[in-house]
């Protein structure tokens, strides 16, 4: 009897001492932050992860940026299976956005995750002592990449929401209540990051081929041009800012890192036939910065929709026959914008209608976006057919999303030159773009196709040059997600969209509400965020 009691208490007391060890085992298959940042490789991985949110196209809803850039503008309609298919974007396109918009919620989410990752990388990299590095230059470059990305994420948010919470450090549980910074403050912050990145980043050619896709000096310079131009209407020193845009452009041009692709069509070409994959144009000579995607046949549908394949092809392909989802459908208005025989129209827009499935109440004009569709024309039974080969993955494709290409640098340069009344420089740069488009046509020698500026009714003055550049941007970058943001930065979104609504009031404009100036330039801060953070102020009018 006594023995048993002793035995029992022996075991109990033994356990008491051993219990804490038993209950605090080292976690399995889990990296603790406290022992992770030990070498170059960890630092590189932290920066790699900061690029990833750029790839994300699906959270609460699909989050492709062209849902704003193209669809909200006069260039495209939402499309899809029915009104319910991405209905939230339908509301945005019709200026009926409310603060509970799930697309905006997802978009907000994705970009702030990007910002956290940049800050996380920078803070941990800066915390690594010198002995943990095998290559000191690497540290400078990695910080430069993180700053470029942090600027890009802030910029993506700023042009949709205006002033936002400034992500200048990693936040934690104690940072739930933070107010928005002014738009001017955010612009200042982005510009500073990009100026730092320009100093830290190598040229595109200085990266080995295996590192293609990382942020470069040229990318930082081009993004800075875009940022400055985006906020130029609020600039305290517009002439100085236009000068800065041109000096950045000069530096990019002088670096000889980039050139316009000879043939416009090649920029978007990935397949030439079903068997032959062509990737050489990705990250090619015209590419300044691209979101990278790859072929990944075995990736899941999403795992939160976040894999390494591009969703754009399946989303924008026609619903008829080729199992696309039919989003982002070009408008008649965009189609009509092109000059006769402009090769770029047929590269952007497929006049394609094979009995599409489209619910009543939407508008089926038969056009589809082509640039991301990964297709090509081929002859079947003596007939030209646009063939979109099946993807290896049900929804994901390998093509990159172009963020900035050299043509944009040229046209931004032209725009800055025009605005400071340097008509000659502006005209020359504009004509470079027209020349390439002309040369891409079937008969480049035909003088009626895309003649040099001044053409048609234009005369050589600032007003006409500005019009010509704006037209050129619309057609050169058609369906590449720029249009809405161009309208906003030029301050003409209200006039253009209301005129569009009136013009198409019987059809596409029927469900649209009027654009209210002072409200619809920005979208509402997501309601979920206002609820979670009382210091946040909603944008005016929402």
């Amino acid at each position: 009897m006594k023995k048993i009691i002793y035995l029992f208490f022996f075991v109990v007391s033994g356990c008491l001492m051993g219990c804490t060890d038993f209950l605090t085992p080292e976690p399995l298959a889990t990296e603790k932050l406290s022992d992770f940042f030990n070498n170059d490789s960890a630092a590189i991985q932290a920066v790699n992860a900061a690029y990833v949110p750029l790839q994300w196209q699906l959270g609460g809803t699909y989050a492709n940026e062209w849902f704003i850039g193209d669809v909200v503008s006069d260039d495209a309609l939402k499309g899809g299976a029915s009104l319910y298919d991405m209905q939230v974007v339908g509301l945005m396109e019709n200026f009926q956005t409310t603060a509970n918009n799930e697309y905006l919620d997802t978009f907000y989410d994705i970009n702030y995750q990007g910002i956290f990752r940049c800050n996380f990388a920078m803070e941990n990299i800066n915390g690594m002592t010198a002995d943990k590095w095998s290559d000191q230059h690497l540290k400078t470059r990695l910080i430069g990449e993180a700053k470029f990305l942090r600027a890009l994420y802030h910029f993506r948010l700023m042009r949709v929401f205006g002033g936002i919470i400034k992500g200048d450090r990693t936040f934690n549980q104690h940072d739930t209540q933070i107010a928005r910074s002014s738009k001017a403050e955010i612009v200042r912050f982005i510009r500073q990051d990009l100026e730092d990145a320009i100093k830290a980043l190598p040229l595109k050619s200085e990266y080995p081929a295996s590192e293609l896709g990382r942020a470069t000096k040229g990318a930082a310079q081009a993004l800075l041009m875009r940022v400055i131009l985006f906020d130029i209407l609020n600039s305290e020193n517009p002439f100085g800012d236009y000068d800065r845009v041109m000096s950045l452009g000069d530096s990019i041009i002088a670096s000889k890192e980039y050139r316009l692709e000879d043939n416009y069509a090649d920029i978007f070409k990935v397949f030439e036939s079903p068997t032959e994959a062509r990737f050489e144009k990705e990250n090619g000579p015209e590419s300044v910065f691209e979101i990278q995607y790859m072929e990944e046949a075995t990736s899941d549908y999403g795992g939160l929709g976040r894999t390494r394949g591009n969703f754009d092809p399946i989303m924008t392909r026609t619903r008829a026959n080729n199992s696309g989802w039919g989003f982002n459908r070009p408008t008649q208005d965009l189609y009509d914008e092109f000059e006769p025989d402009d090769i770029r129209r047929d590269e952007a827009i497929l006049p394609f209608d094979a009995g599409d499935v489209y619910a009543p109440g939407s508008y089926d004009n038969g056009y589809h976006a082509r640039k991301a569709a990964l297709g090509f024309w081929r002859t079947v039974g003596g007939k030209q057919v646009f063939y979109m080969p099946p993807l290896k993955h049900p929804t994901r494709a390998p093509n990159n999303t172009i963020v900035i290409r050299y043509a944009d640098v040229i046209l931004m340069y032209a725009e800055a030159a025009c605005e400071i009344n340097n008509i000659k420089e502006g005209k020359d740069k504009l004509n470079l773009i027209r020349l390439r488009a002309r040369n891409s046509a079937s008969d480049p020698t035909n003088p009626d196709i895309l003649p040099d500026f001044p053409y048609g009714s234009y005369v050589e003055n600032q007003v006409d040059l500005r019009k010509a550049i704006r037209h050129e941007r619309r057609v050169e970058f058609a369906m590449e997600g720029h249009r809405w943001f161009d309208l906003i930065r030029w301050g003409i979104a209200g006039d253009v969209m209301n005129a569009y609504r009136e013009k198409y009031i019987a059809k596409e404009g029927k469900d649209m509400s009027p654009f209210i100036k002072g409200k619809h330039e920005l979208f509402p801060i997501p309601e979920t965020q206002l609820n979670a953070n009382p210091l946040l102020q909603q944008n005016p009018g929402y």
Partner: protein
């Protein structure tokens, strides 16, 4: 107040008796078992409200009139009557143990107790009760048997686990009770054959569960399996049943004629019909062979998907035997069920060995061991918009099942895969093996002391392999490559437990003290891969190694540990005042070092009022009357491990980018969730008050319980503001949920004659659930459907409440539409710049749906959404009727719920929510609103999209009363059997889900998930024939 009146009444009655002429009788009450005095035996005078109880020495003394009869009774003993003719001073009354009513003993966790000594809320179900309801698994048999316990079949999928909730839903985290089988904690009980079970005890309140402190917060279900008979006789049981299952109902969909006419077809000939199809429904044109005569088909897709007369069968054999020294119980069973939805099935082999050996007076060894092997195939995407059932409801009646060339068809209208392609092109293989058991050692060095050590384990292995064919039926119904996935997973739980129990009776004091200690570890490992392009995809080649395409491989690992110290004191004084104190300390590896331990005490008191002197006059009516009061705290650690320290996410998901001319994966690392630095135990605090009564010679029994159950420090995933930039939210202890309710149980059992007996039992329970406090976290939304969330957990409302707009009828005419406009403060319509009315929903016409503009802002926005109903029933109930006459027995078991709501998603589609030409429609649309034929219930076809917003228009009353089981059996008379050397033989027919009374229009009011029914797998109507044989 009432109590005082009762006491006064008792006193008056006692006093009145004093005036009669009497003499004194005294004596002793002894037990025939051990010749020991019986304390607390009742002695009363027959026909007179007067009596006493025996004292500590079994002695009593009472005043009696001449020729009166004394009745001496004690629970568990036969009554003795003694006629008194004169004064006696040493009357010796010897009570024989009752052979009819044995003292009921129930398991209470780490021990057993006499039922009458219980102070906690414990429901008990015997193995015999379970065997009356042929069911695949034990959890199915628990439905409706006990108040406060809900077992809901939210899927009729063969082999699907039931959702069991004890006293409501305590937490938004896992709120399943734990199962303890022969002392081993297991996650589910699908390895048990119901016939192996001796008893099931459901511990409901904190005082009963607290001994399982760490994991008992949502209730504990204790299962004891059968042990071998110790009488020395060997027994063999054989049981078998075979039955058929059928769908209970079909939804009313349009046929080809109805749908085509409804959609505007006016022609007569088949050519016209086919042309009309071609002109209007061109969706998958290129996939539909030329020249199909659609007019020749009128497919009932529900008949395609549902199988008729799906067989269900069960075979079971058990052998048992042994002596006082050693005994054994062996069983083997096979269960096989085909589903009522095409291709789904579940089958299971079970084996069991239980044995124990008494080595000598003080040492006993034993083990319980069971092995299971099961296979199953589920109907894919159940309760998802892309389930087989949903496809069947969407396809047009003029769509053929297969094209004339034999190929699976593409639908002309629906953007859904053909239900057949989910069966023909997907080939899953699922195999589970499970080994559960324990080995124990019991030492009894002296009479009062027992030491028990128990080593328990639960090993389970799952193997899943699935091959998908390359096929192309329609744009959304195809696979571009063939594809094989294969995975293997292993779960292991082991535990070591030691308990030491000391029991002692000291005169009127009866106490028992148990202390114990336990260690357990759960671990998990899985390995899986996939590969495309098997060159020759014949059945024998469906392996990853046969693939030629890209492949993936990944593994998963998990581990958690628990250490506990426990103690329990049971004390009773004079068999009347009962006290139970539990204490448990648990340490869990899921918490940071300084928060490892949680301490969970509980107390409960019982008062057997019927043993008090003042109660004696009521003895002729009441057999027993007990009050119970309990309070306690229990813990919950059911959250993922490794949450409390900062982690770096690596690997190929979420963090890996693409770089280089070769487009390679560039591995990344970042933080995707914040550490939960302050994590501690979730605690459930419960208070319980109960009464147990027994009347009329224990023929009528009843109990009432009231409880309040608060879950505090509930783990909630605090959704941080998004500017913090986390992919995943992290849990923190912030929420509080309150459940409270009543439970009633009544049963009446009577044996009218040797040949005829019957019983009726009924139970009813209520649960009032409320999310009292969710602190800083935002409302949690669930059940996304068509871009809207239908269910919310929001402070101040029941968990999982329905969320949406408030439906306000259908506009009957233009006048009603014109009244539905934006108004100023005076209620006058506000006009826009052009002088037009501003409609609250733009573009509405007569026949469209009107919603309540809750905030009166002249528009319908999310702000007009509110809580529109709850999926919690006001009450749930069940009742059993049993009649036995000679060899016949008949039982009926009804079960029901009342007052809950169900969101019927199928109604959305059947009334055209997806688009009027994009799915088949319900026949109710034939009565939809038109100007010629107004309707107040069905909006116009081709109406505004707003008609289909999430609202209470799709919310239906989910109340039902169901005849869960009806059974008629016949036991062959012993005379017939003895010739055949058979001990017993019973034949029965049984039916399940035979009748359902409900207003719900979907398939099955039970089959919804969080109250949302997306066309969930309904339960079958089952008929069985069975035989139970004893040798």
């Amino acid at each position: 107040m009432k109590k005082k009146i009762t006491l006064l009444f008792l006193w008056v009655t006692l006093v009145m008796n004093v005036f009669s002429q009497t003499f004194n009788v005294s004596g002793t009450v002894l037990s025939a078992e051990d010749n020991q005095p019986i304390i607390g035996a009742n002695i009363w005078i027959k026909g007179v409200n007067k009596g006493t109880v025996s004292d500590i020495n079994g002695r009593f003394s009472i005043e009696v009139e001449k020729n009166q009869t004394l009745v001496i009774s004690y629970l568990g003993f036969e009554n003795v009557e003694q006629r008194i003719t004169g004064p006696v001073s040493n009357l010796k009354i010897i009570l024989q143990p009752s052979t009819v009513v044995l003292e009921e003993v129930v398991a209470v966790g780490y021990g057993t107790m006499k039922k009458r000594d219980l102070t906690g809320a414990i429901a008990s179900v015997t193995g015999e009760d379970l065997r009356k309801l042929p069911a695949a698994t034990v959890d199915k048999a628990l439905q409706g048997l006990s108040p406060g316990v809900t077992a809901i079949a939210n899927s009729g999928q063969p082999g699907a686990d039931m959702v069991i909730r004890i006293r409501g839903i305590g937490t938004i985290n896992d709120s399943s009770p734990i199962f303890v089988v022969d002392g081993v904690q297991v996650g589910n009980i699908n390895f048990l054959s119901p016939a192996d079970i001796k008893s099931v005890e459901i511990l409901k309140d904190a005082s009963a569960c607290a001994i399982y402190g760490a994991r008992g917060a949502n209730g504990v279900i204790l299962i004891t399996t059968r042990q071998g008979d110790k009488s020395g006789k060997m027994k063999l049981n054989v049981e078998a049943y075979y039955g058929i299952q059928n769908k209970a109902k079909k939804l009313d969909l349009m046929n080809s004629e109805q749908l085509s006419r409804f959609l505007g077809y006016t022609g007569d000939t088949s050519e016209e019909f086919n042309q009309w199809i071609y002109d209007n429904f061109a969706g998958s044109k290129t996939y539909i062979p030329k020249g199909i005569d659609f007019s020749s088909y009128d497919t009932d897709w529900q008949e395609v998907v549902f199988d008729d007369n799906a067989p269900i069968q069960n075979y079971y054999v058990a052998a048992e035997g042994g002596s006082e020294k050693t005994n054994y119980f062996l069983s083997a069973g096979y269960f096989d069920q085909k589903g009522i939805i095409m291709a789904s099935f579940y089958n299971r082999f079970t084996f069991r060995i239980n044995s124990s050996t008494k080595i000598n007076d003080w040492l006993t060894l034993g083990e319980n061991l069971s092995l299971m092997n099961s296979h199953n195939r589920n109907a894919p995407n159940n309760n998802d918009n892309y389930s087989m059932l949903n496809s069947a409801l969407r396809f047009a009646p003029w769509d053929p099942v297969r094209f004339p060339n034999g190929n699976v068809s593409a639908s002309t209208i629906a953007n859904y895969p053909n239900p057949l392609s989910m069966v023909e092109f997907i080939h899953p293989k699922n195999n589970w093996d499970r080994l559960v058991g324990d080995a124990y050692l019991q030492i009894k060095p002296i009479k009062e002391l027992v030491y028990k050590a128990d080593f328990g384990f639960d090993l389970s292995y799952g193997q899943h392999r699935e091959f998908k064919d390359k096929y192309e039926v329609a744009p959304f119904d195809k696979m571009d490559n063939n594809f094989v996935t294969s995975s293997f997973e292993r779960y292991q739980t082991w535990s070591i437990e030691q308990t030491l129990t000391y029991s002692k009776i000291l005169e009127k004091h009866n106490f028992s003290l148990m202390i114990g200690q336990s260690l357990s570890e759960y671990s998990y490992y899985s390995l899986g891969g996939s590969r495309t392009d098997i060159a020759n995809p014949r059945k024998e080649n469906w392996y990853i190694s046969m693939g030629t395409g890209e492949y993936t491989v990944s593994d998963g690992v998990g581990r958690s540990r628990l250490a506990s110290f426990l103690g329990r004191l049971n004390y009773s004084y004079a068999d009347r005042y009962l006290l139970t104190v539990n204490f448990r300390a648990d340490g869990s590896s899921k918490f940071p070092k300084d928060k490892l331990w949680g301490y969970f005490p509980s107390f409960s008191l019982g008062w057997r009022v019927s043993e008090e002197n003042f109660f004696i006059p009521l003895r002729s009516v009441f057999d027993s009357f007990k009050l119970r009061v309990g309070w306690g705290q229990i813990g919950n650690e059911n959250i993922p491990s490794n949450n409390y320290f900062a982690k770096v996410q690596t690997g190929s998901q979420f963090v890996t980018y693409v770089l280089g001319d070769d487009q390679h994966m560039a591995y990344g690392a970042t933080m995707t969730s914040l550490p939960s630095e302050y994590l501690k135990w979730e605690t459930t605090e419960q208070t319980n008050v109960g009464i147990d009564v027994s009347f009329l010679n224990t023929r009528l029994n009843g109990s009432i319980d009231y409880y309040i159950r608060d879950t505090k420090d509930m783990f909630l995933n605090v959704v941080l503001p998004k500017h913090i930039g986390m992919l995943f939210s992290s849990p923190a202890n912030v929420g509080k949920v309150r459940n409270k309710g009543f439970e009633f149980l009544v049963n009446w059992k009577d044996k009218v004659s040797k040949d005829f007996n019957y019983s009726i039992s009924a139970n009813l329970s209520t649960v009032n659930n409320k999310f009292v406090d969710m602190s800083m976290s935002s409302p949690l939304y669930y059940e996304g459907f068509k871009g809207e969330n239908l269910v919310v957990c929001k402070e101040g409302y029941p968990l999982y409440s329905f969320y949406g707009y408030t439906y306000d009828g259908i506009f009957q005419n233009q006048q009603e539409v014109d009244e539905y406009v934006k108004r100023d403060e005076n209620g006058d319509p506000l006009l826009d710049a052009n002088g037009d009315l501003q409609y609250i929903i733009s573009g509405v016409q007569p026949g469209d749906v009107r919603y309540v503009d809750k905030n009166n802002d002249g528009q319908i926005t999310d702000l007009d959404k509110s809580i529109i109903g709850s999926s919690f029933p006001t009450f749930t109930y069940g009742f059993n009727i049993f009649v036995g006459y000679k060899g016949f027995d008949c039982s009926l078991f009804f079960q029901g719920v009342s007052g809950n709501k169900i969101y019927n998603c199928n109604k959305f589609f059947m009334q055209g929510g997806e688009g009027i030409k994009l799915t088949n429609l319900g026949t109710e649309m034939l009565h939809s609103f038109t100007t010629d034929q107004p309707s107040t219930t069905i909006p116009r076809a081709k109406g505004r999209a707003s008609n289909y917003w999430a609202s209470d228009r799709f919310l239906e009353d989910g109340s039902y009363l169901r005849l869960k089981n009806a059974q008629i059996g016949y036991s062959l008379p012993p005379k017939v059997l003895s010739n055949a050397k058979i001990e017993s033989c019973r034949l029965y027919i049984s039916g399940a889900n035979l009748l359902t009374f409900t207003n719900y229009t979907g398939y099955d009011p039970e089959a919804s998930f969080r109250g949302v029914d997306r066309g969930n797998y309904p339960q079958a109507v089952t008929f069985l024939f069975g035989v139970q044989l004893g040798l």
